[in-house]
Symmetry: C2
Subunit: 149 residues, 2 copies
């Protein structure tokens, strides 16, 4: 995975969960630090997976899923597909060679297990966990910057 | 990670471990199913990390590490760097926004933990494990293709 769609999606969802104002793609782009068309591309994916409801032309985008029920694996797979292939296999090993004809099958279980462990880790964390941590971080910033009397 | 250097590196190392002949980049490219220059690029990385010893102009490449002592994480990090960034962060969140100024720090521990779990899974498997599985696969192919009498 080489693009930022996943972390941008999380950013968007945190914004939607945290704000009581209607936010459009320009507002979101301003916070994410990208252009509105990239935001709309990510929102289209979230829309398609019924994580948000956003209609072109209508103002306001709604979060359809409770943050505590949206785990990071579901979100990752919504963005990247259910088989995101962290490890890319070479496609044309030589079937006439004993190594070439077996390498994929020999190696696949090890790489698949590693990806599975990553997925299980993402699965235990939710959007609500990210929001909680973010809220605590923001709160401690305020406490730090408050003058002591 | 979007290229195939990691699985190609494993393929090369299995070949070197399994063969008692001197193999050059053309032999290896023929088994991997790619061109010799891509093979030399991967071999240069393996060389640099003292996993193999291969000298341009001299024939023969040697494996410097015992397959049982080379785990897949060490190899992955040799190829991709020690911080391969499965998850790409958007680079310019807005510091004037409470979400923008905290999102990276809020999200990072969750993503870092997921990458750590993937790494731990890779760490427990070695090149020798891949070779053993490959040897068993090749053996069962032979048994299947042997006519029953």
């Amino acid at each position: 995975m080489q693009d930022t769609k996943f972390t941008v999606a999380i950013h968007i969802l945190v914004m939607l969960a945290a704000s009581d104002k209607n936010l459009n793609s320009t507002d979101l782009a301003n916070s994410v630090g990208t252009n509105a068309s990239y935001i709309r591309k990510v929102m289209a994916i979230l829309n398609e997976h019924k994580i948000i409801a956003s209609q072109r032309g209508k103002s306001g985008t709604q979060l359809l899923v409770s943050p505590a029920k949206l785990n990071l694996l579901d979100l990752y797979q919504a963005i990247e597909g259910t088989d995101p292939h962290i490890f890319q296999f070479h496609q044309n090993p030589n079937p006439a060679c004993p190594v070439g004809r077996n390498i994929k099958q020999a190696l696949f279980p090890f790489l698949e297990d590693a990806e599975y462990q990553l997925q299980q880790a993402l699965k235990k964390d939710t959007l609500a966990d990210v929001i909680n941590r973010l809220t605590n971080l923001e709160r401690s910033r305020h406490n730090e910057s408050r003058p002591t009397d």
